[in-house]
Assembly symmetry: C2
Homo-oligomer: 291 residues x 2
């Protein structure tokens, strides 16, 4: 069943490319047009089958589209909405895949009106580029939609159906709640990974043997610190207040562990670690992830 | 080539069991005796082939041993050394696999004298029990040895050869340097993982949707928070000063990121993230881990 005849995916990297692959593999679109500035990206997107056609001209790309998916970095989504607005078809639905929602929904709704539906598929990787795209990227993932009272119900239904047909689990939240939650579940882990990598690197500068003493724990705990710095600057700044709140709660938890250590309070320290083990298990049990 | 006729592995869990499997698989010992308090553990150790014989009596186990490997939790290694001292053969070499070294080396050397060689194979997992033991656990891993001026050179040579024959890379460090380095590369990542799990769990209590918004980043960043609370309380308390120093450096790095966010200093924030990406890459490049 087609969701749309023509879908324009603007920003055809890991996420955008995965939309393209999944739309084609599941027969959800007749034609996927991929937009990217760099010819290399466009070439890869075509070779892996993430797009039928590619262009660097977003305005041209959306002319025939029934559905536009904005997959550019968080900081440029609203600018892109502004850029494509003049050439959108009257009934074209627009959604995005940005990791933050308050600012994007406010700006895109102001520009595009009721046809815009904010979205955030909770899937991805620290890799970038369409060579990492996967048709099953969204399978089993929570897919947040953030309609407002102004959102056209038919547009919402289109994007909700898209999420379901991609194999994801749609979850309707208001944009602010979304941003506050992902500040904890996604943005905080990234910030912590970057800070941890910097702390260990500082020690390595002092004693180069540190690298030889880094085991899988270090590697796993800093994998997110291999993420794109520019992308994560955009995200953290776009969600600044919520990220700062999450950092504050993390600092509070870290201080509790530190106090127990300073006081040599083994019982208190163990209790805090045990709470962490249980809290994590509960998160994973009620979430959509494996262990 | 036999390293020892009879090896007693005291504490035959994930690490101890991996010694057993590797010693047998590589023909390094004729007989491996595994010691564990619980019959279930002993049964599993025998079934997976991690020990030829098992017992709950460490004193009996070491009677015939040429080499004893202490794999009990960090907090009980010195007590175990005290316990087995009376029945050790005159030429028996004793080593351990504890994650901290200063206290263990001081205590075990006082009890066992020159025959004791502190060791720490940088391998493991958050799993526990001999069912997770692997004959190749030590392959490619850094294996720290912490001899003192008192250590018998022949005993050191035995344990260095053991490390090599297990496929690991021996690295001689003084105990204090070892403890300061692992505080950063191993203990800090664990403490951070526990604190992060607690912070996100606190948010989940406020809004249960948090679990649905936890993606692979959360899972990966808290995997270490599935580690055994008692074991990690022991380790962090045994290495308290160095762990507190590492936490302080981490807090400094986190504060730098926070300040940049508060000031909306995108350039400074990106620079700090970029430093983290490079620092991590350098650690992995100079270490013995994959990506």
């Amino acid at each position: 069943m087609l969701i749309a005849d023509t879908v324009a995916v603007i920003g055809i990297g890991l996420i955008g490319g995965s939309y393209g692959l999944a739309l084609k593999a599941r027969g959800l679109a007749r034609c996927v047009i991929g937009v990217a500035r760099r010819e290399t990206t466009r070439h890869i997107a075509r070779s892996v089958g993430a797009a039928d056609e590619t262009t660097d001209d977003a305005r041209e790309a959306v002319r025939e589209a029934d559905l536009v998916i904005l997959c550019t970095p968080v900081g440029s989504i609203a600018d892109m909405a502004q850029h494509i607005a003049p050439t959108l078809q009257r009934d074209c639905v627009v959604t995005d895949a940005g990791s933050t929602k308050v600012g994007i929904v406010r700006d895109c709704e102001a520009i595009l009106g009721r046809r815009f539906v904010g979205g955030h598929p909770m899937a991805g990787s620290h890799e970038t580029g369409p060579q990492w795209a996967r048709a099953d990227l969204f399978v089993g993932a929570t897919y947040v939609l953030t309609p407002t009272p102004q959102t056209d119900p038919a547009a919402l239904e289109t994007v909700r159906t898209l999420a379901e047909k991609l194999g994801a689990r749609p979850l309707l939240l208001d944009a602010l709640t979304h941003d506050e939650l992902v500040a904890f579940t996604s943005h905080l882990p990234h910030v912590v990974a970057f800070a941890l990598a910097n702390a260990v690197a500082a020690k390595q500068k002092e004693n180069p043997h540190a690298a030889q003493l880094a085991a899988s724990g270090f590697r796993d705990m800093t994998r997110l610190a291999a993420s794109d710095p520019q992308l994560w600057t955009d995200i953290c700044l776009a969600n600044r207040d919520a990220v700062l709140t999450a950092i504050a709660e993390f600092e509070r938890q870290l201080r509790a562990l530190k106090s127990a250590l300073v006081d040599e309070d083994a019982t208190g320290f163990t209790a805090a670690l045990r709470a962490a083990v249980e809290g994590r298990a509960s998160m994973l049990e009620h979430g959509s992830l494996g262990k």
